[in-house]
């Protein structure tokens, strides 16, 4: 078999960050090639270089595809050569039909320059059959689930005569059945002669499907391993991805746990628009001063919904339950009230919900605690600048000064701005929703250090995370959330990933295990 794609010493820099530092990748024809690496290792950047999202000239190094050196100026150029990328966030237009989506931007026209929809629907139906999706091509995409939408993306790629298909975390949002179906489809496509690159965090999935795996860490290729080789174990991949002992990924902390700060009892939340659909059911939990409590749950378990409904009813309706702060029951009817009770919530999606990307660091830092700067309705601009500078120093936000727009910062530095903003409100309880999502390994360590400083100062911290090793590394106690119910509470000393995963997958109608441990 011959090499279809070769990427040689690809280097891509952003101001202040070297995202890729000489990555090599070679992909053989008709293979499924997995790329592994931690968040921020450079996988997605590499694929964006390959597909022309970052055009030729913005990176250094060579891309050789089918023996020719490629200079893609845009994603259209790479698609013309048969390289198609399917992003993690699906790029379908919800109100258009399946067929319209498949041929979007690629419509074939009849001799009058009009689209022949009968022909298009017919060809769409053929493509759908190839990906094993039994849906009418005229159905609007919004009526289909994520798993089916993923298949439509693949059908769309097939319509473009794809030779090399790139899938970025294709199964992240899928359930087990849909995932299995997708992986089967990839095998079928391989048999039909299509080469696949798959980016995934799910190691068992990679072990299952990949022919070879390339491991990337901190913007460099670590190794490419043949999965048929018995030495290619998951442990070996993890070692390559992490590159150091697991213990060192989390700064050490000696817990000094005080009194209970926040207690939530019998919390129930309904879906904001679908009447009668319960998102959170009878959730009760508490957190104490100087304690880091983790909340573990799979996607869709209701983690963010739980946190936001507590934080001033920012999510859901028909919210029932009690909140106690320092032993006294409190009312938290809106965000302002939550802040006045010294509760803070740092969102999982900092760009959409956490920051004003048009404004500078200074104004973002003060945005939730503006009242402190303006005793009579007028903002003390000098004091504001001083505050922002203090946080820049203490949280090590890497920027020359605080008048830089936050849109220009890296993910890690943006997250530090979000944390600064909430620290400035003098919180007693911080709910951190995916605090290290999308940021690189070094910055993660810094965020953990900041969390440690928070609890050392006597604050209570709740961390929501989908990365179990992270929760095990930084928490004192972990609650598991599944289908809107808290299904377990485990002191970190007794917790393993397997144990947590077991609790995280208890379905709605299954009984809960009796509480084994009470800390």
């Amino acid at each position: 078999m011959s090499t279809i794609l070769e990427m040689r010493s690809i280097t891509k820099e952003f101001p202040g960050v070297k995202a890729l530092a000489g990555v090599d990748l070679d992909v053989t024809e008709r293979e499924i090639h997995a790329i592994c690496g931690e968040n921020g290792a450079g996988k997605s950047t590499l694929m964006k270089v390959l597909s022309g999202v970052y055009p030729h000239g913005t990176y250094t190094g060579d891309i050789v595809f089918e023996g020719d050196t490629m200079r893609f100026g845009s994603i259209n150029d790479s698609e013309d050569r048969g390289i198609v990328i399917i992003h993690q966030e699906l790029a379908l237009v919800p109100y258009l039909s399946v067929a319209e989506n498949i041929f979007l931007g690629n419509e074939t026209r009849n001799r009058f320059g009009l689209i022949d929809w009968n022909d298009a629907n017919q060809r769409a139906a053929e493509l759908l059959a190839r990906v094993g999706l039994h849906e009418n091509p005229t159905t609007p995409v919004s009526q289909l689930g994520v798993g089916k939408q993923q298949l439509i993306e693949i059908a769309k790629a097939l319509s473009k005569k794809v030779k090399l298909l790139i899938l970025d975390e294709p199964t992240a949002a899928l359930n087990d059945t849909d995932s299995a179906h997708l992986l089967d489809l990839l095998r079928t496509l391989r048999a039909e002669g299509i080469t696949c690159i798959i980016i995934s965090h799910k190691l068992n999935e990679i072990a299952d499907i990949a022919d070879r795996t390339t491991i990337i860490r901190d913007g460099q290729t670590i190794e490419t391993i043949d999965m048929a080789d018995p030495a290619s174990t998951q442990d070996r991949i993890i070692r390559g991805m992490v590159g150091r002992d697991i213990e060192n990924r989390y700064p050490h902390r000696t817990p000094d746990i005080g009194d209970e700060v926040l207690r939530v009892e019998d919390w129930n939340v309904d879906h904001p628009t679908q009447a009668g659909r319960q998102i959170i059911t009878d959730a009760s939990f508490h957190v104490r001063a100087g304690e880091v409590v983790g909340i573990a749950g799979l996607m869709g378990a209701g983690r963010t919904e739980l946190a936001m409904s507590i934080f001033g009813r920012s999510y859901g309706r028909n919210i029932r339950g009690k909140i106690f702060k320092d032993g006294k029951q409190i009312q938290v009817r809106d965000v302002a009230e939550a802040i006045s009770h010294h509760i803070a919530y740092a969102t999982e999606d900092r760009k959409q919900y956490g920051l004003n990307l048009l404004d500078d660091i200074r104004h973002n830092v003060s945005s939730a605690g503006l009242g402190k700067l303006s005793p009579n309705g007028w903002v003390n601009g000098n004091e504001e600048l001083k505050v922002a500078e203090e946080y820049r120093e203490s949280l090590n936000i890497k920027t020359p000064h605080v008048l830089v727009n936050v849109g220009k910062l890296s993910g890690g530095n943006q997250q530090k701005v979000v944390l600064s903003k909430w620290l400035y409100t003098d919180p007693d309880v911080l709910i951190l929703d995916e605090p290290t999502r999308g940021i690189d390994v070094g910055a993660k360590y810094e965020i953990y250090t900041i969390i440690n400083k928070m609890v050392a100062a006597g604050k209570a911290v709740i961390v929501i995370s989908s990365e179990l090793p992270e929760l095990l590394g930084i928490s004192d106690r972990v609650y598991t959330l599944a289908f809107g119910r808290i299904t377990g509470e485990v002191p970190v000393a007794d917790a393993t990933q397997e144990r947590l995963m077991e609790l995280m997958t208890i379905e709605r109608d299954q009984p809960l295990p009796t509480k084994e441990l009470k800390s």
Partner: protein
């Protein structure tokens, strides 16, 4: 951070804003060179009297735009409030101030009406104010029975046509006008000095002392020259005082008050603002209420200037006000824009209209030129943003 780097950094960060100042200065110089009458006392006074109401509208409009909304109804509101005032003063024979108060109350109610639909029902401002544009125009016709009412005369007429003159005597120029301008310049210098001292106290970088002095002297020279020109003609226009007070108050409100900062937060990222404890609905409501009130102020000024209320008054004013904001650097997606920028944007429109009128350029060409300027200003804004993004 050294001073030079700081200055250069300021220049790049404020390229958009400083670019507007340069463009404005270039326009003034261009028209002055083309027509010697352009900088005459008479013409400068005229520019102020003719465009003051657009500038007043632009103050409110820039806040609406920063909040991520738009208000297309202000032209109709100018007509409606002027009409109500005319009915009260001319038809009912009430004193001038009752007319002013009636107009302001109508503006307040209009603002509350639109604010309600935008903030609490969640209809985009574009739609609400498009409806309002028809609604308030129709009400104007109803109030006026389809005919113009004139003249106001008396004190009401003086609001937009009166001058402070001769209060302290004159020697070929009005001393009072110069005194007021002198106080304004002194006030400017003092506030700049205090802000500089404040920055030093908080250990921030400031421009060097010579730069600072040159800046103050240059501003003072231009302002005093302008004041002198006015004083040799008819003195200080009353409407300029109204405008100056509004600009100062709203510049402070937008930049230094919590309310102002919340407007920027809502326009910049509504969800983030909500999760930071900003009451988004309340902010949107009050932004529209404020716009309604300012539109009624413009309505009073305009009806006074015309000495009449006409059914078709204020037609297309909304477009001039919106253009002023965008030329002045406001972002079409909200979150960015300043009162000062909108004022310069409005003055650019004013200077262009006036300059072209003086040169006898036909109305048709004037429209074409103004349209192109608006388009190019926003194109420059987008190009500038893309350049900034590419530098990442």
């Amino acid at each position: 951070m050294n001073v030079i780097a700081g200055a250069r950094d300021l220049m790049t960060r404020h390229l958009r804003e400083s670019g507007i100042f340069v463009a404005f200065a270039a326009l003034v110089i261009l028209f002055a060179a083309l027509n010697p009458n352009f900088l005459s006392a008479n013409n400068l006074t005229n520019i102020i009297l003719q465009y003051s109401y657009i500038l007043i509208l632009a103050i409110g409009m820039v806040m609406v735009i920063v909040a991520g909304q738009i208000d297309l109804s202000v032209g109709s509101v100018v007509a409606l409030t002027g009409a109500v005032s005319a009915v009260v003063v001319i038809r009912m024979g009430m004193p001038w101030y009752v007319g002013v108060i009636a107009a302001l109350v109508v503006g307040l109610l209009v603002g509350m009406w639109q604010g309600f639909w935008v903030a609490y029902v969640g209809i985009p401002g574009f739609i609400v104010s498009l409806a309002g544009m028809l609604l308030f125009r129709g009400l104007t016709y109803l109030v006026l029975d389809n005919v113009s009412l004139s003249p106001f005369g008396g004190t009401y007429y003086e609001i937009a046509n009166g001058f402070f003159n001769g209060l302290l005597g004159g020697m070929g120029f009005d001393v009072f006008t110069l005194v007021i301008f002198g106080i304004a310049v002194a006030g400017y210098a003092v506030s700049q000095w205090r802000s500089r001292q404040g920055k030093i106290a908080y250990q921030q970088s400031v421009e060097s002392m010579p730069t600072f002095i040159v800046k103050i002297v240059a501003v003072a020279a231009v302002v005093m020259w302008f004041g002198y020109q006015l004083s040799t003609y008819r003195g200080l226009p009353l409407v300029l005082v109204i405008l100056a007070v509004l600009i100062i108050v709203y510049a402070l409100v937008t930049q230094k008050s919590v309310f102002g900062r919340h407007i920027y937060a809502v326009g910049g990222n509504r969800h983030a603002a909500e999760l930071s404890g900003v009451k988004v609905r309340r902010i949107n409501f009050w932004v529209f209420v404020n716009m309604g009130v300012l539109a009624s102020v413009a309505g009073v000024v305009y009806s006074s200037r015309m000495n009449a209320a006409q059914p078709a008054a204020g037609n297309m004013f909304e477009l001039d006000a919106i253009a002023a904001c965008f030329i002045g650097g406001a972002s079409t997606t909200g979150g960015v824009g300043r009162v000062g920028g909108a004022m310069i944007g409005g003055l650019i429109m004013a200077v262009m209209s006036n300059g072209m009128q003086l040169m006898g350029v036909p109305q048709s060409i004037q429209q074409v030129v103004k349209g192109l300027v608006l388009l190019l200003a926003v194109a420059f804004d987008i190009w500038n943003k893309r350049r900034a993004a590419a530098a990442r």
